[in-house]
Structure formats: C-alpha cells, structure tokens
Symmetry: C2
Subunit: 283 residues, 2 copies
C-alpha cells in the first residue's frame, strides 16, 4: 500500500497549500492499524482489541420508518465502542459517546448522563483510535471543513470515525422530542425539531463519514453530533464555524450490524428507497 | 414474540395445505437462538459460539466492478463459518462451504478441494444451525420451492441461511472462468459462462436469502449454490427441480463485513446503482 501512502501524503500536502495555516501533526500509515482479519481475530479473542470495527444497532431506514424502541442497552454498547452517535428509545434525543461516556441531548438542548440500562433503537459506536491527525488553525465553515476532512479520507470505500476537538465561533444543533405511540415517521418529527445556537464555544464534534453503499443501513457521507466542553449541551450538527482545533480520523475496515428482534422491526417495510427522506431529516 | 410464532405456525400450516405432501418436522422458536446481544457477547467470548452471524468479505458491487483479487484466506474464513458461498481470487470458480469443507467448482464444472491458503475476493459464511426444518416430499421446481421457503422466512428484514439436502430430478448450474488482468466486469464474464446440467442427482443447495437493504453490499433475495452428494460437481444454481429433500433455515440477526485493504478495492467506484447488472450476473 506504499503507493497509496505517497498519494495520501501528496493529497495532504495539497490541502496544506490550499488551506495554509493547517499544520500536519502526524499522518500515520492508514493500514498499520487496520488488517481486517487481524482485527476480527482480536474481536473474537478480546473485545477490547476490536478497535477498528464500527458496531451498529438496527438500520437507519427502520428509524426513518418510526421504529423508535430498541432493546440494546447502552451498557452493552459500551463493550463495543467508546465513541459514537445515535438516539434513544422513544426517539428521546441525540446521543453522543465520547471517551466512553454517553450523553443524551434532549429536546431542551441539555446534555444528560445516561444509565447503562437505557436502551437505543439506533446507534453506531467504535473504539476510536486516530490513524490521521491534523490541526485546524484558521477559521473554516462547515463546508470548507468537510472538504478539508475529505483529503484525510482518501479511500471512499471504507468507513471513518471523525473527532474534531476545537474552539467554535458558532455551532447550530438540533435534537428531537420524545415520541408517543403510534410513532410518526422521522421526517414528520424533524419538521418541528428544536434547534440550538451556541457561540464562542469549546467542544467536540463526534461522528462518521460512511461510503455510499451503506445507503438504507446507515447515513452515507457525513453524520456529525456535537457536545460542548462542559458536557452540558450539544446535539445533531446542522452548521458550524470553527476557529481552531484538532481533527482526528479513524480508518475503519470492519462493520458489525446487530438487527433487532422486535415485532416493530420485523413488521416495518424496509424495501423502498428513502434517500430523499434521509436528506430531509439530516438537515 | 409469541404472536410471531403463532403467525409463523399459521403461515406454515397454510403452506402445507397449499403444498400437500410437505410434512412439518420441526418449527423451532425463531428467536430462541437469536438474541443479537448474546450472540455478539458469545462472538467476543468464543468464536465457535458465534453461530448466528453472517460473516462477509468485501462487497458484491466491488466484485461486479472486477475486484477479483482478495487477501482473505479460506483458512481464516473457516474460523467464522462452516457453511457459505463465494468465489476465488482471479474469479476462479464458484465456492461452496458445507460442514466446514470448502469446494471450488471451476469452469470445467468439477468441484476441487481448497487449501486454507487459497484467497477470496468475495464470500459470505456462517455457522449453520437450523432454526426451522421441513421436508419436501413432492416434486417442485425452483420457483415453487422458493415460494415454499418464503413461508419459512416470515421476517423479511433479517438474513437467512438456506440448506436443502435432497434428490433432484434436474439441476442447472454455472461457473466462471479464471480471469487475467486487466479484469473485465462480472457482467462481461457471465455473458459466456459455462453451464452444467445434472439429472437424477443427490446433493445439497447452500445459500442465503437476504433483505432488500443489503443492495450494493450483497445479493438481495435468494443466492444459491449447489454441490452434489459425491462432492465432485456443482456451481451457482440457475434452475432446479427437486423430487424430495430436507429444507433447513438458519435465522441470522448479526452481520459482519470485512472490507479489503487492497488498492483495487480502494480505487473502484462503488457509488453507482448496479441492480440491473446484478440481475444479469445472477442468471
């Protein structure tokens, strides 16, 4: 894979030229930590070595269709990752897991601690290990930041964990209010989603960039959540302007999906294309 | 899940009425062996307990695009399943794994034994444990058999392993000839695929029924291979007429995907919809 490493280096060098002010801290061999067979053997041998596996509960299309109750406890999910995003049974807010701590940003925009017995209908976690790390030292908006990140993710056919620890001029997030049965579709819920604006805030963006082919299973492209430095506020990221920060990327070659046993999941129709609905709910 | 079990029983009873001559042997609780969390903990604790996980190497769309070289050895795959289907590096034939033995049906239609060091660009294996078992005791063609199987798979949102051990009036299979670089797309290779017809043959159909949402990752619906009783011939199933046999279904709630590290996989474009190409190559 030497050829790829050289190309990665060239790509990153170009990024520096374009975005002067960005200093490369480390650009580790994207493959050093990611031999899928080895990881899987490690997973089998010891879950705490299974650091390059994206572990997911249910599918995004089941969530879009209103399957908001899950039977997977966050205490269990912690065994499969210390970093991730998701939601809660009843669609009771946005989930951020960071450094093994799970936070629940409810419809009031406040981040609450989460018990191990709390359950989720949809979440994706991993043990975060940075394969590539860079510093943002010039202000960038969300679009420019995503272009910048793209240069750190040269393989568009694998999965990436994304962590941005920084100082933000502005962050706009949303959450979702807890739903009662019969559950409406997610696209109906997000029509009236509460949004929150934070200015001059320190915090961490937690999320993923996933390839196109996960369509129907998870969110292709970027899916980012935010938690502030005090761990008191955050949500699903709609917009941000970053002043400076550290970007870390975790190259992920293995994917594990745990399908629900519930009647709700069995009964939902997952046969139709919901790409446009997904685009609406992500905004 | 009692309600589902009753519905399953009713569904199966209806099948018996429609297809008189079919005798239900056992219809186990479809959930008894399939608590995803438990399975995953088992996977972590001991790979040999991880019996309800479909373990896949690469994606079907990468294979469609001509990514025919893989670095996963069959010796490794055996650790994740004793049952499955796939192909070989260079697209050198059709793979059938049955009872932990791996067979390679080359372009001559002959089944060859496989070394543990042989590699694959695409394969899907599981530890096969029947959750539902039934007997076919009246002749049925492929279409009728697939309708019959459908009644044994009430949850269209999970994955199923399928094993049919029987006596066949007729089985038509195909294989694919080993390719040389630069590799053509799979749809080009299958235009001139060698096919094989067997009459009055005993053998085993090995394969999967997968939900629509795996599109791009694996084959939605049925994907079946065949190996004869002598383990000397078989291939990718195109058509069959079964006289009698035993059908076993393995309900699978967990999915593991191991993405290749190769340059070929990194460089291939997996962003377009290849549904029609997939339909062509499966025939």
């Amino acid at each position: 894979m030497k050829k790829k490493i050289i190309i990665l280096t060239i790509a990153l060098s170009l990024m520096f030229t374009v975005l002067s002010g960005c200093i490369d801290e480390t650009t580790s061999d994207a493959n050093a930590q990611s031999n899928p067979e080895k990881e899987t053997e490690n997973l089998v041998a010891n879950q705490y070595d299974s650091n390059d596996i994206l572990y997911q509960v249910s599918t995004i299309n089941a969530l879009l269709e209103g399957v908001y109750d899950g039977d997977t406890e966050y205490g269990t999910l912690k065994q499969y990752g210390d970093f991730g995003i998701g939601t809660f049974s009843g669609l009771d807010g946005e989930m951020i897991e960071l450094d093994g701590e799970i936070y629940q940003v409810r419809a009031d925009g406040v981040a609450y601690p989460v018990n191990d017995t709390t359950t989720t209908p949809f979440a994706a976690v991993t043990f975060f290990e940075a394969d590539t790390e860079m510093r943002i030292s010039e202000p960038m908006n969300m679009t420019l930041t995503e272009e910048y990140l793209s240069g750190m993710m040269p393989n568009k056919n694998i999965m990436y964990g994304i962590k941005i620890n920084g100082t933000f001029e502005y962050v706009k997030t949303r959450s979702v209010p807890k739903q009662e049965k019969p559950y409406p579709k997610l696209v109906e819920v997000t029509k009236n989603q509460p949004t929150f604006e934070m200015e001059q805030v320190n915090g961490v963006i937690v999320g993923y960039w996933l390839p196109v082919y996960v369509d129907g299973i998870n969110v292709p492209g970027y899916h980012l959540h935010f938690i502030n430095e005090d761990r008191t506020a955050g949500g699903h990221v709609l917009e941000f302007d970053i002043i400076e920060g550290k970007v870390e990327i975790d190259n992920t070659y293995d994917f594990f999906m745990d399908l629900p046993e519930s009647n709700d999941f069995q009964d939902v129709d997952l046969s139709s294309d919901k790409t446009s609905e997904l685009e609406q709910v992500e905004k």
